[in-house]
């Protein structure tokens, strides 16, 4: 039996286009189902927090968004680096496709965080280490997208974006720890997230299911955007023309 996998087969935009087209519905449906289950657990099954009341339930959106925001940046930088190192067009397109979804995540995390902060801490915003580093992460995403948008030649945009993504990925831990030390030096917020008691099992379960839903959504969204990028860049190629005539 020949179990050899042709890894490079799907590195061609034309074959990946078809693969992604077939995969998107699966991921989208998985995201919807997991999202419904996760939200059901978060709103109806998970117990009311004895300290924070009902308002804590925003955690089921907030924490997965914060996780995804950091994870997607690493994934984006990884694909950008692969594109830069091996000169594969598809990897760079994937990096550009991930960026907007990635930028959405810190935005969501900050937005839900401030909605949570108002009833808990009595303020929309504190210069807490985590909030601040999440904000800077959002700036890094925006910088990546702005640089790519400003360069007309797509190949140059890919490479330039890859360099800034890699510089960013080295800097993210440095920025994170700097901000943390800065915060302790300033003795800023007297409230902290870490002082809350350990989580109930159902809460953790709900959060993990929501995180999975976010994963599925991110993959589906990135694939859909990647398909659009492929079509745009390969519009002069034969297979895209054939695709158009086939419809």
């Amino acid at each position: 039996m020949n179990l050899k996998v042709h890894w490079y087969y799907y590195a061609a935009p034309s074959t990946f286009y078809r693969l992604a087209g077939r995969a998107i519905p699966w991921f989208a449906v998985a995201a919807a189902i997991l999202g419904v289950i996760g939200l059901y657990i978060s709103f109806f099954v998970a117990p009311t927090d004895f300290q924070q009341g009902e308002a804590y339930r925003v955690i089921f959106i907030h924490v997965p968004a914060a996780w995804m925001s950091m994870f997607l940046y690493v994934v984006m930088a990884f694909w950008a680096a692969v594109g830069l190192a091996f000169n594969t067009r598809l990897s760079s397109m994937m990096a550009s496709a991930i960026a907007p979804t990635g930028a959405l995540m810190p935005f969501l995390a900050l937005w839900t965080g401030s909605l949570w902060g108002k009833p808990m801490w009595g303020t929309w915003w504190v210069w807490d280490a985590r909030l601040t580093s999440e904000l800077i992460l959002l700036f890094l995403y925006i910088g990546f997208m702005a640089l790519q948008a400003a360069i007309d030649d797509p190949r140059r945009a890919d490479k330039a974006g890859a360099v800034i993504a890699l510089v960013g990925v080295i800097n993210v831990p440095i920025i994170y720890f700097s901000v943390q030390w800065w915060n302790t030096l300033h003795q800023g917020a007297s409230v902290s997230l870490t002082s809350s008691p350990s989580m109930a099992k159902t809460m953790l379960l709900g959060m993990l299911i929501m995180a999975l839903a976010f994963w599925m959504y991110s993959i589906a969204a990135a694939f859909a955007r990647c398909r659009a990028i492929i079509l745009e860049r390969e519009r002069t190629s034969d297979w895209v023309k054939a695709l158009k005539e086939g419809e």
Binding site: I136, F139, L140, I142, G143, A146, L147, A150, I151, D152, R156, K159, A160, V163, I164, L166, V167, G168, I170, N171, I174, I175, S178, V179, W181, W182, L185
Partner: protein, 227 residues
Amino acid sequence: MNGVTTLQAFVAVVRRDLMLALRRRADVLNTLVFFIIVVSLFPLGVGPEMDMLRKMAPGIVWVAALLASMLALSRLFAADYEDGTLETLVLAPQPLGLLVGAKVFAHWLISGLPLVIIAPVLGIQFDLPAESLAILALSLLLGTPVLGLIGAVGAALTLGVRGGGVLISLLVLPLYVPVLIFGAGAVEASAAGLGWTAHIALLGAFLAMSLFFAPWAAAVGLRIALE
């Protein structure tokens, strides 16, 4: 290699950039004047109370230094890019990272060092104690080269790009955050009578790291821009 050692090439690039800068002195002065004006605007904005200004001084001077060195970045490669010198540098047998390092060093002598020298004078305006003035100069001495090195990456990537000036600030300012935190932090700590050596040590670590990585990353950026 024509008998030109890498050290000679380094010195030649530094000398050339310094000479060009001395022929156009106004450009050099503009950065410095910008720095002084921005720092002087803050008391007009927030009021003349000396207690508050003394507290804010490290942050104000450092943010102004950040903005001033960011504005100067557009001059780092732009002229060489337009007249083709950059292509000669890329084709030179010496490693491009080293030549970029030479350019950044010359750029720092022109636009960073004046800020370090003038900053204590501005600190006096904000009634900082003598020791803090020295720490302010020291932190800028270690911090401004880091700003130039990180900025070189941004300058290389935005070379010849639409709206490069605003774009470079989007790319570079978030990366400046750690330098700002520990640069201003060192001065604040000394003003508060706390230990400032840790901050200065971290700034030194940033300098060592960016000296190692940034010229190389900027060289990659230049190659991409010239493709």
